[in-house]
């Protein structure tokens, strides 16, 4: 179980980093999404890997932690999902704007940013 989750996180992070380093905006957006998936999965595991256990302590007696999973990482993950979802929308809209205004979907700055009279492409 641990190995499976670890491999999943690693594979998603690796493909995310590879895609983020691409030159065009579309792969970069996909890469960002992959990386945030990997991190969300990682956050869920930070409490403890526990399957089919409620995040609530049962009964009134002495706490039984074997039938319990930490609720805090789930709350953190939920926050992270909401934020990364919103951010993805922002970056999609922004890159669309940059594509429409600039005429291409490259990530790096055109030459006119570095040199006077440089090409805008």
């Amino acid at each position: 179980m641990e190995a499976l989750v670890a491999i999943a996180i690693g594979a998603m992070s690796a493909s995310g980093i590879y895609l983020v380093l691409r030159l065009r905006t579309f792969p970069v957006v996909i890469g960002m999404t992959m990386m945030s998936y990997a991190i969300n999965l990682f956050l869920v595991t930070t409490g403890r890997l526990a399957v089919n256990k409620p995040p609530i302590l049962q009964g009134h007696g002495p706490a039984d932690f074997s039938a319990y999973t930490d609720p805090l990482p789930q709350a953190l993950t939920l926050t992270a999902i909401v934020i990364s979802f919103g951010m993805t929308a922002v970056v999609v809209l922004l890159s669309l704007g940059a594509f429409i205004e600039g005429g291409d979907d490259y990530i790096d700055m055109p030459e006119s940013d570095r040199r006077e009279g440089g090409d805008t492409e």
């Binding site: 991190i39 926050t79 951010m87 922002v90 922004l94 704007g97 700055m109 040199r115 805008t120």
Partner: protein, 533 residues
């Protein structure tokens, strides 16, 4: 007093919301509300700083839940200082935004401005690591909107880069927080400090990884080499007042470094000197890269951006010592470099407005108000280069003094002093190109006129197009207000120089408080009367 601690977060949130809901079509109302809101915010910040200056650590428990289970806001001397600095910068630069007409170049300038203030204020106040992440996101989302305010191909492209690098930063932040939570089981900073101190030395491997990951996040925010590549294009292409406000954003990264690595991971704890060993070389290289950039810049916006990077370098050199004297020097330099950086960007924007958005350092006709702008530029450049009599000189002196006992001191002193020369030459070149070379052109024109030929002068046409992405002097509602705002920043620098003694005594007490973290733990975790059981 108690509920006032959350006012710096709630007040801009309410004003920003009101502006969006009720007055999105009425710029005048927006201006009035936003300015009054920012002025109130400055008042609240001063009030809080006054109370924090008694040395007590005030804690605000959200929803009255007991720490470490609920989120807490923490007001100490450092937070008080940063609140006042942010509120002052926010108000002054906003007035510049109104005076120069930038706020009608696109939609929702004032609303985004208020949300930006909310995020920065929250980041300075929070005492919870995950809440710090949330406030970072708030300030980043607002800054994305402000960054691309006015539009334009280059600005949007730079905006995409800015958003992507910050999204990667946020991802790293979450990874760091997850790691720290997995090891310590808490996200409250004071509680984390207790847990980290109790941890046996054999178990700290993952903790150290988490600490370094967290430092990387803050280094991206602060633009430390090699994580600085996003900054020059972003700052040079952002609207002038926005770039000036961003002067406080990189300081948020430095603030977080100071906060985390004095409270949670002190140098004598589990992480040892790992952080300062990494920060010092990075800061030295940052300083060199920044000042060489000032020397070699071909665009005034980039010169100002590179000078911002250099100031972060100087600042982090002082921070990386992690002694009370060096933190005190760093805080003094923080105030100085925030005001200087903002003033430089505003001056660059005033020049751009009079040259049709063109900031390349090449020969152009003489600009309007050339003399006055040149005087402002001269003052800001002297402050940025660290020449006497401005506060940059005192700040650099303090940094040099604080690094005196470091084994690397020769290298540190040589780097700071030699790169200062780069900055002097760089600013001298930029200033003479912008303000003196045009006189040469004027002479040629006068000669041509004397010989009866028509003058090849091209006057900048006045225009009033709110959708144009380049701000022009013809769009300025009140150039006098713009000058006054820039002058207010420089006046702040003069006050910082004249009252260097009291300012230093204040930063000394802040550093002293930071290096005795016991009261934090005490007030957050032990004295919890009134909290829900």
């Amino acid at each position: 007093m108690n509920h006032f601690i959350i006012a710096p977060v709630v007040l801009p949130a309410i004003i920003g919301g009101l502006i969006i809901l009720w007055m999105r079509h009425d710029l005048l109302l927006q201006r009035v509300f936003s300015t009054v809101g920012s002025a109130l915010l400055l008042g609240v910040a001063l009030y809080l700083a006054f109370h924090a200056n008694t040395g007590e650590v005030f804690v605000y428990r959200l929803g009255n839940w007991p720490a470490p289970f609920g989120i807490v806001l923490m007001l100490d001397r450092l937070a008080g200082l940063m609140l006042v600095l942010t509120a002052f910068l926010g108000l002054v630069v906003q007035l510049y935004g109104i005076g120069s007409g930038w706020d009608r170049k696109g939609w929702h300038f004032h609303a985004l401005w208020q949300f930006q203030m909310m995020g920065v204020m929250g980041a300075f106040l929070t005492g919870d690591a995950f809440n710090l992440f949330v406030f970072f996101e708030v300030l980043l989302i607002a800054s994305y909107g402000l960054m691309i305010h006015g539009g334009g191909a280059l600005r949007l492209r730079a905006g995409v880069q800015y958003v992507v690098i910050n999204l990667i930063g946020s991802t790293l932040f979450l990874a760091a927080l997850g790691t720290l939570y997995a090891v310590t089981g808490t996200l409250n900073m004071a509680d984390m400090a207790v847990k980290v101190a109790q941890m046996p030395a054999s178990d700290t491997a993952i903790l150290r990884a988490g600490a370094v990951l967290l430092m990387l996040v803050f280094a991206i925010k602060a633009a430390l080499v090699p994580l600085h590549f996003w900054l020059p294009s972003t700052y040079a292409n952002a609207p002038g007042p926005v770039a000036a406000l961003f002067a406080i954003m990189s300081k948020v990264g430095v603030y977080a470094i100071i906060r985390f690595y004095t409270l949670v991971f002190p140098g004598d704890g589990a992480v040892e000197s790992l952080i300062s060993d990494m920060l010092l070389p990075a800061a030295l290289i940052t300083l060199v890269v920044g000042q060489v950039g000032v020397l070699g810049g071909r665009h005034m916006g980039r010169v100002a951006a590179m000078s911002a990077i250099a100031s972060i370098g100087t600042l982090v050199i002082a921070v990386s010592m992690f002694t009370p004297a060096s933190i005190s020097a760093a805080l003094y330099y923080t105030i100085h470099s925030t005001l200087t950086g903002a003033a430089l960007f505003l001056i660059a924007d005033m020049i751009a407005a009079r040259r049709g958005g063109d900031l390349w350092l090449t020969l152009r006709p003489k600009i309007q108000n050339s003399g006055l702008i040149a005087a402002l530029f001269f003052a800001a450049a002297i402050a940025a280069a660290g020449l006497p009599p401005m506060s940059g000189f005192i700040g650099k002196l303090l940094v040099l003094d604080a690094t005196r006992l470091d084994p690397w001191w020769i290298g540190i002193w040589a780097t700071i002093l030699i790169t200062s020369l780069f900055a002097i030459v760089g600013f001298g070149r930029a200033g003479s190109t912008l303000f003196w070379l045009p006189f040469q052109l004027q002479r040629i024109e006068q000669q041509a006129e004397a010989e009866g030929k028509p003058a090849p002068r091209a006057p900048i046409p006045p225009k009033l197009e709110p959708d144009e992405h380049i701000q022009d002097i013809g769009d300025a509602v009140s150039p006098a207000l713009a000058f006054a705002a820039t002058g207010a920043l420089l006046a702040g620098l003069v006050l910082l120089t004249v009252f260097a003694g009291p300012a230093l005594r204040m930063t000394d007490t802040i550093a002293e408080q930071l290096f005795s973290p016991h009261p934090y733990v005490e007030s957050v975790l032990t004295n919890q009367e009134g909290a829900r059981p």
